[in-house]
């Protein structure tokens, strides 16, 4: 797989002093990968996302998109933002239009699509995400889950190569968490690179190809979920717990090899042992 996004010695500070929100971040993400970013609140995940979309300009270091160094001039930034979409944690910060339809059309018109093309794409995404029932509603009259679906539609309609979800399950009820996760699954099936910040260890363990752990602005580990969640040192450092599957598996198995990926696999393992 080709590397789609890469950071080399990236530093970012909100103030002019050496109090860095991102410190020496080195990581690389391959095309089509499912990446979970984990770490305590304030560890730099959201700042990293804003740097990826070129909204924040790093103090030091370089960011590469498709192995090309990101340039911070207007034309290149607009091009980058059309390729890397962010679904923000708080949908109210993202939705500013009076209606859902207007909201979804905003990004496309900024990209220079004609009115007909925009209409076609907006209608398509509304159908794909099955949000016809509230597409005529004003954005303020939507529920939290519906707002999140519209926020995803906003970004998806722009056909990005990477889609970033900043805590997509935050403040959602189980039904809407399921809907959002189904959308994410569809995206990854279609080969889109998805980067997501989450505190849900169970979901990250099952879903992600790789997990990147942030602590105090630094990347302390980038590895497969199993390697992260069996490393007690990094888990303690980032205040993370082991996923339920691993906890259960470790409590009934002393070998600690061939960890199950999800509850289904654990169930099969237990049934086999019981026989």
């Amino acid at each position: 797989m080709n590397t789609i996004l890469e950071c080399k010695n990236l530093y970012f500070s909100y103030s002019d002093n050496d109090n860095y929100a991102l410190k020496n971040v080195n990581l690389s993400i391959k095309q089509g990968q499912k990446i979970a970013l984990m770490g305590a609140n304030g560890s730099g995940k959201s700042t990293f996302f804003l740097c990826c979309a070129g909204i924040l300009n790093p103090c030091k270091g370089d960011l590469f998109f498709h192995n090309e160094k990101i340039k911070y001039d207007k034309k290149n930034l607009l091009n980058l933002r059309s390729k890397i979409g962010i679904v923000f944690q708080e949908p109210d910060n993202q939705l500013f239009c009076a209606s859902v339809y207007e909201e979804i059309s905003f990004g496309l018109l900024n990209l220079g699509f004609s009115e007909e093309e925009t209409r076609l794409k907006v209608d398509n995404i509304i159908k794909t995400l099955n949000i016809q029932s509230f597409c005529e509603k004003p954005t303020h009259a939507l529920s939290g889950g519906q707002k999140k679906q519209v926020a995803i539609a906003d970004i998806l309609v722009m056909s990005p190569e990477i889609i970033i979800f900043d805590e997509p399950a935050a403040a959602l009820d189980p039904k809407h968490i399921k809907i959002v996760r189904e959308i994410i699954d569809k995206l990854t099936e279609n080969g889109l690179t998805v980067i997501m910040s989450t505190h849900d260890v169970d979901y990250a363990y099952e879903w992600a190809d790789e997990i990147i752990l942030f602590d105090n602005g630094e990347v302390i580990m980038q590895a497969k979920p199993i390697d992260i969640f069996t490393n007690n040192t990094v888990l303690d450092k980032t205040n993370l717990e082991k996923p339920t599957v691993i906890k259960l598996f470790e409590s009934i198995n002393d070998n600690k090899i061939n960890y199950p990926k999800n509850l289904k696999e654990l169930e099969t393992y237990i049934k086999a042992r019981l026989k």
Binding site: I86, H140, I155
Partner: protein, 245 residues
């Protein structure tokens, strides 16, 4: 925002916005220019019936009308009464003038109520856009409309949290809580506007808000004819009453 809810639930919501806008504005202009009590009364009744028929409860509509009425009534007192050093006089002509003023103003308000209760803000904005209203004004209207609701929600949440901690136990505490609510709302509004700007930048915002409204209903010929007949009648009647009555 009750007006917003009413406009979304209106039976006339899906009728062509331009037709409704034209009806409201032309009727309002005729009403204001003619200054005729009869025309004002006709407009008041017709727009009132249309608004109520569109789904606004009668009591609620009258309540909404009572707001400008109270204001107009108090304002016209100063016109009706002539305060002299030792006595107060009242003139029959002035009373009629005041009544005419109240009726004209109320009917003008009822035209705007008709528009507000039957047309969503998005539709009104799209009509204004077609009328080449300056883009900056439309963008401001759009953002203000969106953020009124967010600020109201935030203010409500803060006020509930203050109440939960006895923030309104007495007059002095209430005043202090209200002040704190205002300042906190201000800070939150600034923070939120920064976040919105970031989110807009992430979607390639380039200093102009470009959005597309969903496809609207086409104007019905029947409605256009009815509006033309009604406004034509008002116009002819106002000219006739001006010169022949």
């Amino acid at each position: 925002m009750i007006i917003d809810k009413l406009s979304y639930n209106s039976k006339l919501r899906y009728e062509n916005a331009e037709v409704k806008f034209a009806f409201a504005v032309i009727t309002l202009l005729i009403c204001v220019i003619s200054r005729s009590a009869v025309i004002a009364l006709i407009v008041l009744v017709v727009t009132g019936v249309l608004t109520i028929k569109s789904g606004v409860p009668v009591f609620r509509y009258l309540k909404f009308l009572s707001i400008p009425f109270a204001f107009l009534f108090l304002s016209t007192i100063a016109i009706i009464f002539d305060f002299k050093p030792f006595y107060i006089t009242i003139n029959k002509n002035v009373v009629f003038y005041a009544l005419n003023l109240i009726l004209t103003s109320l009917s003008a308000v009822s035209c705007l109520y008709f528009l507000a209760f039957t047309t969503t803000i998005m539709d009104i904005l799209s009509v204004l856009k077609k009328l080449h209203c300056p883009k900056i004004i439309l963008e401001l209207m759009l953002l203000i409309y969106r953020f009124i609701f967010i600020l109201l929600d935030t203010a409500y949440a803060i006020s509930i949290s203050q109440k939960a901690r006895l923030g309104n136990i007495n007059y002095k505490t209430s005043l202090k809580s209200f002040g704190m609510l205002g300042s906190s709302l201000m800070l939150k509004a600034i923070k939120r506007s920064q976040n919105v700007y970031i989110a807009m930048q992430a979607r390639c915002y380039d200093d102009t808000i470009n959005v597309l409204s969903s496809k609207k209903a086409k104007p019905k010929v029947k409605h256009i004819i009815m509006i033309a007949l009604f406004d034509g009648f008002l116009l002819i009647f106002s000219i006739w009453s001006k010169f022949f009555l």
